[in-house]
Symmetry: C2
Subunit: 340 residues, 2 copies
């Protein structure tokens, strides 16, 4: 009972602080929420919440501000994901429907998400897992350099440079290509590995090393590096996160310039619809301790192929942000599911 009210107070504090960006006091709280008790009672609750580490007071006589832990409790126990308004849903539809290829889908989605949340949005390219190989091309760039291009049937194209220890003639290159194409055309990417595993052995002597290098890179491309691209939008919104945030802009921009950081940030949910929220210092990424990151997996049906999400100030509107992130993820998933 008492415990319930305390949580209600926490919720009220978070909501007011998110709305006003100012420390909230006991009086303002009873005025703006129907808590049914006096400011004095609220003060007692606030003292308790402060002891628990959920809120904190910037000065002796200012109001209270939620801590990272406070937001954590809020997100876990007090807030429901807020569905989008009709207008927002319609906006999503009209925004995404004109996309012409995968790049375009990604770009439109990430911009849309940035716009909806007024925060920084991230989207990871879908992995190749479900696709099949349409074609593989080997292009000699020099005696020991080969460009490998993999074209998947979903329109995605991957390219990698292969360095071989021994020179590769065009003739050999042609034969390797023929063999590989024979083996993997129309094969699902997940199955490519077993098809080409022993392909190097079909070659003799010095040719074997070259063939092996090509195969190794192919496997790497297919298996390991198939989700490394990330797209970003809405960095301009960083400038509007508020006065008190300006000092944190630089480290955030620095973090966002690193692909590796972005990938770590997006994490690896393996089920759709399960939103991940990392609040303030929960973020391992240095420089993002003043921000929260909301991510979710998206894909075809229940099959998660990649992640998307947003980065914003810890004092964001979690309910709306989570709603937007989830909604965009669903739309993108739907588009990927449609026959292209």
């Amino acid at each position: 009972m008492v415990e319930d009210r305390r949580l209600a107070v926490l919720r009220a504090i978070v909501e007011d602080y998110v709305a006003t960006h100012e420390p909230v006091g006991s009086r303002a709280l009873v005025e703006r929420h129907s808590l049914g008790v006096s400011p004095a009672t609220i003060r007692n609750d606030m003292a308790a919440l402060e002891d628990e580490g959920l809120i904190t007071a910037p000065h002796t006589s200012a109001g209270r501000v939620p801590t990272d832990q406070g937001y954590r409790v809020f997100v876990d126990r007090l807030s429901a994901v807020k569905p989008l308004s009709g207008a927002e849903k319609r906006a999503i539809g009209s925004f995404l429907d004109g996309a012409v290829d995968l790049d375009d889908v990604m770009q439109r989605s990430v911009r849309l998400l940035a716009q909806l949340t007024r925060q920084v949005a991230l989207i990871q390219y879908p992995s190749l897992t479900r696709s099949t190989v349409r074609h593989i091309e080997l292009v000699g760039l020099g005696p020991t350099r080969i460009l490998l291009v993999l074209i998947a049937d979903n329109g995605r194209v991957e390219q990698r440079i292969v360095e071989t220890s021994v020179p590769v003639s065009d003739d050999l290159l042609g034969r390797v290509r023929t063999r590989i194409v024979e083996q993997v055309s129309g094969v699902r990417l997940v199955d490519v590995a077993e098809r080409v595993a022993h392909l190097g052995e079909q070659f003799e002597g010095p040719e074997r090393a070259a063939a092996a290098a090509v195969v190794a890179t192919l496997l790497e491309t297919v298996v390991e590096r198939h989700e490394e691209r990330v797209m970003l939008a809405g960095t301009a919104n960083l400038a509007s996160f508020g006065e008190d945030f300006t000092g944190a802009v630089r480290p955030v921009l620095e973090a966002l310039e690193e692909q590796m950081v972005l990938l770590r940030l997006l994490g690896e949910s393996r089920t759709t619809d399960a939103l991940t929220v990392r609040i303030g210092h929960e973020n391992e990424v240095e420089g993002l301790s003043a921000t929260s990151v909301v991510t979710v997996g998206y894909g075809r049906g229940d099959d998660v192929v990649a992640q998307l999400g947003v980065v914003g100030p810890t004092r964001m509107d979690y309910a709306s942000t989570m709603g937007s992130v989830r909604a965009v993820a669903r739309y993108v998933g739907r588009i990927l599911t449609e026959p292209q």
Copy 2:
């Protein structure tokens, strides 16, 4: 004579202001530069410079600050491009030499430039002009959708989606591909247009429309869209441009998110070594009126294939910035010239 000293005063003002970020007064000027005259004389000169619109005073009794026009005169008549230090040159070498492919060269270069100048760096991908076609692949994605992939011998890969008005069978697709590959393999990209111009006419009836669509897209890819990609680095430096710049961060970030804007920004110098400097309001791009943009073409020898440059506050160190931009452009040009 008098005119000479006035320009010397302008130079001194620009240099001091760039160094201190504070309005500079007559007294400080004579102390820090050997002008050989008294502050009173300087004051007269300053009044004249103000009348000419080259400097301005923020308040009645603060020092003077250069105007955009003042920087213009400084850049055109008073400053020499500053060569890099030995350490910087060595840094460039070690930074760029490990690059493994075109993407990598671009990425390393743009990061390097951002680091050297502590500003925001831009680099445009080299155009395909000089390259030859290694391979062209057509992948059917649906009845009226074809993915066109063009692989150039310099390692660059371009992809485009083609929408056809009539359905295209795999059979037809195969034949179109064969014809195209026959025509353009090994051909320089600039010559592709004439080779395929009449290719559609080799097909009859409904097939002609499909073939024409593919050819049209191919031409577009080769001729028109061959320099649309731009890479960006150092946006975090925006946060360090200074107190007085914080208000301008948002519009700048917004501008930098638009590919089209970036391309306009990079402009189109057609000779290497001719640096372009656009100062403050000289920039047509809205939102960049508080910044200056320094760009230069780079390429193989005298042949400009693309541009690179930086965006920084109008009160940047033009001499050093121009030196860094030019130096990086030369290095990148050299790398492109080396046999890959």
